[in-house]
């Protein structure tokens, strides 16, 4: 991913809210790599992944036109919620931002809902969680 001019501010660095946009790109790609297309999950199964929490630590600035790598992993997953972890690094490996986002699965009315079982495997939700009735 390459930093867009629109994403910089007058300090000459990336404005701090844009990293949350990149986190979204990271988790969409993470889901895609597991075989889940978030667009279809939303359109066909009427499951929305709403954000409950977001946390960022800014280690160093990203600059215009720089290539940025977003690493995304699953920190925790239940049929009702999921936590993603992130690291954003420059192409040379300099740490830019680390953070996490916590999400709650919701129906189209934005009320909490259980993730349909067909998606459990992709989110690493196993038998243990099912029994605990999370």
């Amino acid at each position: 991913m390459r930093v867009r001019y629109a994403e910089t501010d007058q300090m000459g660095i990336v404005y701090y809210s844009n990293y949350l946009v990149w986190m979204e790109i990271g988790r969409v790609e993470f889901c895609r790599s597991r075989g889940v297309r978030y667009r279809e999950m939303e359109a066909e199964d009427r499951v929305l992944l709403t954000v409950a929490e977001a946390n960022c630590r800014y280690h160093g600035p990203a600059r215009y036109d720089e290539e940025v790598v977003v690493r995304t992993w699953l920190e925790k997953a239940h049929p009702r919620m999921v936590v993603f972890g992130y690291q954003m690094l420059s192409a040379e490996g300099r740490m830019l931002v680390s953070g996490s986002t916590k999400h709650v699965f919701c129906g189209p009315d934005l009320k909490p809902a259980r993730l349909p079982e067909k998606y459990w495997k992709e989110f690493g939700i196993g038998i243990g969680e099912r029994q605990s009735g999370a």
Copy 2:
């Protein structure tokens, strides 16, 4: 309206796409001043105002924390489309951007639709336009 830090770029001035966001603010306020709440038009009458064209001329830069005035007027209106004109000025009257946006009224399927007659007066659409069957 005051320029947000997020709206600047590394030139130290407002990034050029943000003026289109301000145009939107201008036309929403214009509608509100005429008694039309766009949110209700969209929610209750299922009329969307999609954008067909946008044109901007950049006369001078706006800077962080500057107060900006958005002047909005109706350039043209038919039951199927409307054109808004805009001028954005600094608080001291320096011209920043002028421009226009052309909109097409659509249904929730994003297909063109006629504006319900109850809104005609607010958009200055009169008997002449009705006869011409625009």
Copy 3:
């Protein structure tokens, strides 16, 4: 503050990174109310307020055209850093988002720097902090 159309996403609610933009608006207004114009601090004293951490908890969604109130306060302040707390509420008092941001004072080279003493009072930095040599 009124929610802009540009700030919504296809869930029909405000996209989650925009709250960080509103936090910025909150802290700029907070500073202004204390007599500090951030623009001047940056331009004249070459002090930048870089972001080191940002945390958000999303309690309920904000929707298009809704009026939002941003409450901002100082949680902690030293000559080298400052923590702001935030609550964002709907006009009716419904909690939308709470959170905090931690900032480090920097010079124009983005290296940490001490806040000039003339700003200490505004940030509530007193004798105690000065002695502790923070």
Copy 4:
């Protein structure tokens, strides 16, 4: 390029100002393909490419997660200004947006300046233009 969730609005389509961000991506890539790195032009030669005009025609909406192709070409170039043309298409070739942006070369003071001759070839500025002293 893939449409980001952040770029959609509550109509479920891409918010209209984002296409100007994509145009920027298109022209940066266009310059890169010609061997001009805009970042270096700005940092080393102190030449800024300010926007004087932007025009968009919206043919059809882009949706979340869709792949979008940005075609960029040079419509006109002088040592003082350049016009880029754009077409944005879906991966299947459906036209989304067409448009153009006009730019003026400026110095770091944002005053108009001539493009250094070393960049002329990349922008297709030839002997004819040089003689006409544009």
